[in-house]
């Protein structure tokens, strides 16, 4: 049974005393005195009918209610004994309370709603729900909350209430009243302070800093480093700034400062860094007495001194701690960026389990490492290494260590004086401290300096090689040369005998097996007793022997301090003439020649290939190479081979130690273009044919095999000026390199330039051009000069006639306004009274052969530039119509261009268009043509006057005549005078 509180509204108030009776079961009624609520006891489940009867003096009234579980609100109890405990350093509020006495006798789910407020402003800054089971009376609950703002910055209050959430109740959820406010006071006002103080936080966190002003002080500014951030007010005396995503601070921390009024500076420092990030823990022993564990610190924590990371390394089996002074030392020098701790080996313990803890104010990391002592041996390099070269092919190494090791596998590195490296492995048995171990090293070369160094590792469980020991050097002893010299000869026969230059190649160090001190040369005639000998110093590689024409056997040996090499023999045949076919042509490569030949008929001891490295010099630097028997090809290479040089190569067969010439070859490693020009001589066979002849280019200038010649020829306009070449360049390609002449046909009468160039596979050489002038016969040349000259003279005469006959026409055309412009024949008389100053001194004449026809009727003279002339030829009676077309521009002084016209040689009437070059108005073009002031001019000529004068006749005169000066002009006037006199006749 539960107790429910029922409440109702009283309805309309009466002045009469009213009592109520609640009946919820037929047998259960309770009276309520002047109240509108009452307590009833009911079972929780099921619907209940409740009858409330109001009774006063006037009567009673009953209301009936159907109440179900849904209509009942469950009000949980108010939390009791609420206590708040602050932790200022961690800015945490811890809340403790008792759930209270529930009306329900069974467990119900409940929710506590907790609110945190800034007391001064009564501002709710945090609300949180706390779900719980209210299953026993006076159950204690706990809750904590970390404040973003330091708790000292302002007073914080907490309150809590219960809310019913039990679904079993299936009723309306009610909430209890709030508990009484529990307040944590902030800093008092005795002095100004800043919070938090000297905190260490992680990079990236958000942090709020506050400044609380003391009594009589006021906050002016609040600054994060040099950064001014938005300021929020927590209360009257307290302000705060929040820095989000804090960056790492430097070693002195980041300063947050509060400036107060009256002036006072407050501050606090925050250290922003990272928690430890130590990783890659590894442990090993170097001497089986101490275990060294090392690790990488990972990311820098950015925290120093008291905030730095502290390390502890614990061996968990023994429970002992390692010594980590080096890692925990403030001024720890990182070795290879690693920290390390030392742990002494515990006697009898082989397995070790290490736990490394790295801790700083922001966190802790733990790393484990387990090792078997003997599987993690990293030996020291040998403390002592001694080398003793005891023979020519072996040596002894002596090694020792300052500590003991078990079986070790070792390597020694052997480096020869020419830097060849060789690694050899060996093993060492258990090694006592400071005991010498001897290692024999064999398979060495005599007379060779070797440097030795060694390193070792544990043989049973390889872990790491030790570092290399220091290098020790020794030189092996000498042996007699093991190989015969490679000997060859160069024979020069004279009438007195044969000079044999015996040459040999120095033995390589591998064959000399010591320092060669001299060479011994012996020779004797074949099948004869009696040997001659000579000694050559080590500095030479040849010796010359003067022999007669007998057959000789020559032997050479190299000698060092221990002995001499096997004898190397060659045989000289005194009367044998070496003969071979024509040399075959071979092509080479930039590095040398790839040679092959047919095998010799009786070759038994291989072949010798011989060539000169510098064929152009007196000492051709003969080279040779021996080819083993049955091998008929080889490649000869040399850095001395040069492109464009012709190399002769001889192959000798060797038969029973007699050498005979087998084949000769010539070739170039790389063909170049000929370096000398082909010298050409030319011979003109006719005006259309030329024969070119040229000489051979010297062989040393070929620089390749001549493949042919190219003949270039080109006609030239101006022989003297080569730049003015014209015409198409012709080419004749001659592919036969033996041809030395060529005939070029189908040429024209002109100057030709011929060039002949030889070419090889490397390109075309240079050429020396020659020029040939091809001309026609002398008669043709003569005619070519005379005809133009004759035509020119005739045209001059014709022009004179033309000018004379057209004089009046021109005057008529250009001077129409001049009084008395037309004077015909004898009517043309000098006007009286003007005789002293005649305009034109022309005497009348009778034109007996030429008729001057007036301008074409209907054509304006001024507009027309066409003047038509009809000439009557007295000889044949034919009429010539001449049409003169002049430029329309006004050009009184323009240099006339009057073509010669031979009227008499123009039998048929024809029209000629004589177009002058238009040069515009050029009145000053020929000043001499119109000079008035010249004292030499006679009166008649003086009247020519200005070029613009209306009576000027100057432009009737041909330009050439006026240009010739006074004499020409006077002759011109004489000519007109002559014509006047003819008229008189």
């Amino acid at each position: 049974m539960l107790t429910f509180i029922c409440s109702w509204s009283a309805g309309s108030e009466t002045n009469l005393k009213t009592t109520y009776k609640i009946c919820y079961k037929p047998t259960h009624c309770e009276s309520v005195e002047r109240n509108v609520s009452g307590k009833i006891n009911l079972a929780l489940f099921g619907a209940v009918q409740i009858h409330i009867t109001a009774i006063n003096t006037l009567g009673s009234a009953t209301a009936t209610f159907q109440v179900t579980k849904k209509d009942i609100t469950f009000i949980p109890p108010v939390p009791q004994n609420v206590k708040v405990v602050p932790d200022f350093s961690s800015q945490t509020l811890s809340l403790k309370w008792i759930g209270g006495v529930s009306a329900l006798a069974f467990p119900t789910t409940i929710e506590f709603e907790i609110q945190v407020l800034w007391t001064e402003k009564m501002e709710v800054i945090h609300t949180e729900s706390y779900a719980a089971q209210l299953d026993s009376q006076n159950k204690t609950f706990q809750w904590s909350w970390i404040s973003g703002v330091p708790l000292n910055c302002t007073s914080h209050s907490v309150r809590i209430r219960s809310i019913s959430t039990d679904i079993l109740m299936n009723s309306k959820n009610g909430s209890s009243d709030w508990s009484k406010l529990q307040t944590i006071p902030g800093a008092d006002d005795s002095k100004s302070v800043m919070f938090p103080e000297d905190k260490v936080v992680r990079v990236g966190t958000n942090m709020t800093f506050c400044c609380v002003a003391g009594r009589g002080q006021r906050i002016k500014t609040l600054v994060y480093g040099a950064e001014h951030l938005p300021c929020s007010e927590l209360g009257i005396r307290s302000k705060a700034i929040t820095k989000y995503n804090l960056p790492p601070s430097d070693s002195a921390g980041t300063n947050i400062m509060c400036n107060l009024d009256p002036p006072h500076l407050l501050g606090t420092v925050v250290f922003v860094g990272y928690p430890p990030d130590d990783q890659q823990l590894e442990c090993e022993t170097r001497d089986l007495q101490n275990i060294v564990c090392y690790w990488s610190p990972g990311r820098q924590t950015m925290l120093l001194r008291e905030h730095r990371t502290f390390y502890t390394l614990t061996e968990r089996i023994s429970g002992k701690n390692a010594s980590c002074h080096q890692a925990n030392d403030d001024d720890a020098d990182l070795n290879d960026d690693k920290y390390k701790c030392n742990f002494p080996v515990i006697s009898g313990q082989q397995m070790y389990k290490f736990l490394l803890k790295a801790k700083n104010p922001l966190g802790e990391v733990k790393t484990n490492y387990t090792l078997n002592l003997y599987t993690r041996v990293y030996p020291y390099s040998p403390s002592k290494v001694t080398v003793l070269c005891t023979g020519s092919r072996q040596t002894k190494l002596f090694l020792s260590w300052g500590v003991s090791y078990k079986n070790m596998t070792c390597q020694f590195e052997i480096v020869t004086n020419n830097k060849e490296k060789q690694l050899r492995n060996f093993t060492l048995p258990d090694q006592e401290a400071n005991a010498l171990s001897r290692v024999a090293v064999d398979q060495l070369y005599p007379d060779t300096s070797y440097s030795f160094r060694t390193r070792c590792a544990s043989a049973e469980h390889f872990w790491k090689w030790s570092s290399w020991s220091e290098s020790k050097t020794c030189k092996t002893q000498e042996e007699a040369p093991s190989k015969a010299l490679d000997v060859w000869r160069e024979i020069k026969r004279t009438e007195h005998g044969q000079n044999v230059l015996v040459k040999w190649k120095p033995l390589p160090h591998s064959d000399a097996k010591g320092t060669i001190v001299k060479y011994e040369i012996t020779w004797n005639v074949v099948n004869e007793v009696g040997e001659q000998s000579a000694i050559a110093p080590v500095s030479v590689n040849s010796t010359e022997l003067h022999l007669n024409f007998s057959d000789y056997v020559i032997a050479v040996r190299a000698v060092n301090s221990v002995g001499s090499s096997p004898s190397s023999q060659i045989r000289i045949l005194g009367l044998f003439e070496e003969q071979a076919d024509e040399p075959s042509i071979i092509s080479g490569m930039p590095s040398g020649f790839n040679l092959s030949w047919s095998p010799g008929t009786n070759e038994t001891c291989g072949y010798i290939v011989e060539w000169c490295l510098f064929p152009d010099t007196l000492d051709c630097n003969m080279q040779w190479e021996r080819v083993p028997p049955k091998t008929t090809h080889t490649v000869i290479t040399s850095d001395g081979f040069r492109p464009g040089v012709r190399y002769s190569i001889s192959v000798y067969g060797c038969s029973q130690h007699k050498e005979y010439l087998l084949k000769k070859m010539v070739g170039y490693t790389q063909e170049l273009a000929p370096r000398r020009a082909v010298k050409v001589k030319a011979e003109a066979n006719s005006s259309h044919t030329v024969t070119l002849r040229w000489e051979d280019i010297p062989v040393q200038d070929h620089q390749g095999f001549i493949r042919g010649y190219r003949v270039y020829y080109v006609p030239q306009v101006n022989f003297s000026a080569r730049s003015q070449k014209s015409g198409i360049k012709e080419v004749i390609n001659i592919t036969d390199p033996d041809v030395r002449n060529v005939t070029v046909t189908n040429l024209h009468s002109a100057t030709y330039e011929f060039t002949v160039k030889a070419y090889t596979a490397g390109g075309e050489g240079i050429g020396e051009p020659i020029n040939i002038n091809l001309v026609d016969s002398p008669l043709g040349l003569f005619l070519a000069i005379l005809i133009p000259l004759g035509v020119t003279c005739f045209c001059g005469i014709l022009l004179g006639i033309f000018c004379y006959t057209k004089r009046n026409c021109v005057k008529e055309t250009f001077y129409p306004d001049v009084p008395n412009p037309e004077i015909h024949g004898e009517q043309w008389s000098v006007v009286e009274g003007r005789s002293s100053n005649p305009t034109f001194d022309v005497k009348p004449f009778i034109p007996d052969k030429v008729w001057i026809i007036e301008s074409v009727p209907g054509k304006d003279v001024d507009d027309s530039d066409i003047c038509t002339m009809e000439m009557n030829n007295g000889d044949n009676g034919s009429v010539n119509n001449l049409e003169v077309i002049s430029d329309s521009g006004y050009k009184p002084q323009m240099r006339p261009h009057v073509p010669l016209l031979d009227v008499n040689h123009t039998p048929n009437p024809q029209h000629l268009d004589l177009t002058e070059q238009s040069e515009g108005y050029q009145p000053q073009l020929k000043v001499s043509n119109w000079s008035v002031e010249s004292p030499e001019v006679d009166e008649a000529s003086a009247c020519i006057g200005s070029p613009t004068s209306v009576n000027s006749t100057q432009f009737l005169l041909p330009y050439q005549a006026s240009e010739e000066g006074q004499s020409t002009r006077s002759s011109s006037w004489k000519f007109s005078s002559l014509m006047s006199s003819a008229q008189k006749r």
Binding site: E197, A226, D250, G253, N255, P263, G267, V269
Partner: protein, 163 residues
């Protein structure tokens, strides 16, 4: 500038450079209220002070400064372990202050002035920020008191030609 001034000036400057923003800004000037407890280097009644009083002032100031410098040096070693230049400057300043103190003591003995009975100042439980500000004022105070000492001894030498 005597070489001593250079060291005190430099240590003051370098000290500021090592403390982070805004200490390293040129216009930074902490409020005088944060100054450590030292005799004032330039009192208004300096002229009315006797030679003995001046000597006592000097002795007291440099005695206190020597301890403050030691504290600052230790604090900066902890706070700025890598600032070797600062540490060297503070070490030199401390040595010079100690030598100066010994010389003042010798003069006082010579003049029959008994040294005062002084308690060495303790480092105090202050925040890191307060250490930084105090370090600044210690360096400034050392420089100011060096000037005062130079002035006092100049005056003393004039009065005591045999000195």
């Amino acid at each position: 500038m005597p070489p001593e001034f250079f060291y005190f000036f430099s240590s003051s400057f370098v000290q500021l450079q090592c403390q982070g923003d805004p200490f390293n800004q040129s216009d930074f000037r902490p409020s005088p209220s944060s100054q450590p407890d030292l005799p004032r280097p330039l009192p208004e009644m300096w002229h009315s002070l006797t030679d003995n009083e001046r000597l006592l002032d000097n002795f007291t100031a440099h005695f206190l400064l020597s301890h403050h410098l030691r504290h600052t040096q230790e604090e900066q070693k902890e706070l700025n372990p890598n600032a070797t230049v600062l540490h060297a400057l503070l070490e030199t300043s401390l040595n010079r202050t100690c030598h100066l103190l010994a010389n003042i003591r010798a003069v006082m003995d010579n003049m029959g002035v008994a040294p005062p009975d002084l308690d060495a100042p303790l480092p105090g439980n202050v925040t890191i920020f307060e250490q930084k500000v105090k370090g600044y004022w210690v360096c400034e105070g050392s420089r100011d008191w060096l000037e005062r000492t130079e002035r006092d001894f100049a005056s003393l030498v004039d009065k005591l030609p045999n000195f």
